[in-house]
């Protein structure tokens, strides 16, 4: 395996960082040494932090002419051997969709941090939103795999950015850190440990770079290693040769791309349970909303109410078996979101339990009192 333990880039200890700064530091700790970006609120601090820190750690930073170019150059750098990243927000994330599909098809490890703001369109650039959930999975044409993670704290902006790189390298897949403006601009204590585990892409001289490895993830060489690589977003065989009208090649490739993530979902999907064992009403929450939800659930537990919470740390692939299990135990599932019910719809796919969405799209975070009020009505 290509796991190894490395020293953290920052000295161990506590830091008082914003979520955006933490994501930049997490990337550096994970070994990211190529960053291309384009200014956009509320994610720009990530790029500004990288611009300073890459001078110290020896990375390549470039501000590109738009988000399309940013992601394109990140993919190019990844094939040149880099751990590479970009960060953006809604409008830029929209422009990146074609490139995300290309990265998925060419099995290019890349990390995109999307600091979600209130949409649609330009929306409210400085206000919070959580409306990019479905776009992260379905934004580009065709079926393709991605992994999307929803951090809820500054600590997780750091830890989960490291995790995002590990997953990208491990599965050769685009990984999206689907954070919200409220977490990106949150400032709180973050702890850096002395050593972290990182995964570096597997290499195997002469091996088919698009063939099925043992677990569906082929090794990945880099340009300049004499492998005479053929990389293309068109349908291709195990060696990257275009086969644009062969039904068998197309069927095998699209199935493997899907299965390499779905068959490994136990290893990928993370979640946390809070008081969910004996709860009648379970809140399913993620990102910043999970902070408000936990506050509400704990307050109501003190009143003796049987409420609990499941926090989804991984959004894609979706925690289908977890939801099936929760749905068989709970009387009601409450899903508060800063969108019009994007995760609630997914929850409904996997359980027949009574599901109550709560949708707030006013550019504000959902207050714990709001959640408490809703839960009281459900009990």
């Amino acid at each position: 395996m290509a796991w190894k333990e490395v020293r953290s880039a920052l000295p161990a200890g506590n830091y008082y960082y914003s979520g955006n700064e933490a994501a930049a530091e997490g990337a550096i700790a994970a070994g990211c040494r190529y960053y291309a970006g384009y200014p956009i609120t509320p994610s720009s601090e990530i790029m500004e932090w990288i611009a300073v820190r890459f001078r110290e750690v020896g990375g390549v930073f470039i501000q590109m002419e738009d988000e399309i170019a940013s992601l394109s150059s990140v993919i190019g750098a990844s094939w040149a051997g880099a751990k590479a990243m970009t960060a953006t927000s809604g409008p830029g994330f929209s422009l990146m969709q074609e490139g995300i599909g290309y990265a998925a098809m060419t099995e290019t490890p890349i990390v995109i941090v999307d600091i979600q703001r209130a949409g649609p369109a330009t929306g409210q650039a400085t206000r919070v939103g959580g409306g990019d959930i479905m776009q992260a999975k379905w934004g580009s044409q065709g079926d393709y795999p991605v992994i999307a993670i929803s951090p809820w704290s500054v600590q997780e902006m750091y830890d989960q950015t490291i995790n995002a790189f590990n997953l990208a390298e491990r599965y050769r897949v685009p990984v999206i850190l689907l954070a919200e403006q409220a977490v990106g601009h949150l400032r709180e204590r973050m702890n850096v440990v002395e050593k972290i585990a990182i995964f570096n892409r597997r290499k195997e001289k002469g091996a088919a770079p698009f063939g099925a490895g043992d677990d569906g993830v082929p090794p990945m060489p880099a340009f300049g290693e004499g492998e005479k690589l053929l990389v293309t977003g068109s349908s291709h065989d195990d060696y990257g040769l275009r086969k644009v009208a062969d039904p068998l090649v197309q069927a095998r490739l699209t199935a493997r791309l899907h299965n390499k993530i779905v068959n490994n979902r136990e290893e990928i999907i993370q979640h946390e349970d809070y008081y969910a064992e004996d709860a009648d009403v379970i809140v399913i929450a993620y990102g910043f909303t999970a902070r408000s939800s936990l506050f509400a659930v704990e307050a109501m537990r003190r009143e003796g109410k049987r409420v609990g919470m499941i926090r989804l740390k991984t959004i894609w692939p979706f925690a289908d078996s977890l939801i099936r299990d929760v749905g068989s135990r709970a009387k009601k599932i409450f899903v508060p979101e800063m969108n019009r019910g994007q995760v609630a719809g997914e929850v409904m796919k996997y359980t027949c339990c009574d599901i109550i969405p709560y949708n707030q799209t006013d550019g504000e975070v959902i207050h714990p009192n709001t959640i408490m009020g809703e839960l009281r009505r459900l009990l």
Binding site: A36, V60, S72, S73, G76, A80, G224
Partner: protein, 257 residues
């Protein structure tokens, strides 16, 4: 193909180009430039976009090739080159890919003077998709989307890229093979952004809609329009109408002043 160039071709690959396609000539001329410079092709990275010209390096060239999204070849190449400056990076794509959908990346890479050699294969039409008008189609030309003749002015791509700050800018036709090979060599040897526009006519999508029935006729039609830069000097705008001026328009001195 000459003996020492055969190893530059990927074994077992059948060319997708139509019989008589000028891009076939260009396959050979690019490889000739690389062979004459004695570049180890394993040190090279070829990046292309979408369209007929993008197939020149991929899959023909037996080297690292990155066949990217439509219009984005230069942006992909920028990432690879900046992260590994040892890669001798060449972009090969068409006029629609580089100048229409990818026009923004083209001028910004020229402005940054990124160390890339860009071969813009200009057939003045969208060949692969059926012969639609491109930003390089001359006025009056019939295409599948300009049925009464093109009424829009084309880009002078060399002027555009030179003005944006490119180190080396040239235009030649496949009908000027030796000068073109020298120019590609100059481009590869020039540190900074090199842009070579190659007139590479398409007799299928361009020719047959404009009363040029064969590949040879189409080639001759364009060859007849090409003037070397010094031949063009002193000619009136009237005499230069419809002419294609070939030569070097910026050769390393662009940045000096």
């Amino acid at each position: 193909m000459a003996g020492d160039m055969e190893e530059y071709l990927r074994p077992g690959v059948r060319t997708p180009f139509c019989p008589g396609c000028a891009d076939r000539i260009l396959v050979r001329l690019i490889l000739r430039a690389i062979a004459e410079l004695k570049i180890d092709i394993d040190r090279m990275l070829f990046v292309s976009g979408i369209g007929c010209a993008a197939w020149i390096p991929s899959p023909h060239f037996n080297a690292d090739t990155l066949h990217t999204l439509h219009g984005r070849a230069i942006a992909f190449a920028t990432g690879a080159k900046l992260f590994n400056p040892e890669l001798i990076t060449m972009v090969v794509s068409g006029d629609g890919d580089l100048a229409a959908i990818g026009g923004n990346h083209l001028i910004h890479a020229a402005r940054r003077n990124t160390d890339l050699t860009v071969i813009c294969v200009n057939n003045m039409v969208y060949g692969m998709t059926g012969g639609q008008v491109s930003p390089a189609t001359p006025m009056g030309i019939f295409t599948s989307t300009t049925v009464e003749g093109n009424r829009e002015r084309p880009f002078d791509l060399c002027k555009l890229v030179a003005a944006a700050g490119a180190e080396y800018v040239a235009r030649y036709s496949v009908s000027q093979p030796d000068t073109l090979v020298s120019s590609i060599k100059r481009g590869l040897e020039t540190p900074g952004f090199s842009f070579i526009e190659v007139i590479s006519p398409c007799h299928i999508q361009f020719g047959r809609r404009n009363r040029l029935d064969t590949a040879a006729e189409t080639l001759r039609f364009f060859a007849g329009k090409c003037l070397m830069k010094d031949e063009a000097e002193g000619l009136s705008p009237e005499e230069l109408r419809d002419k294609i001026i070939t030569g070097e328009f910026s050769n390393g001195r662009n940045q000096a002043d």
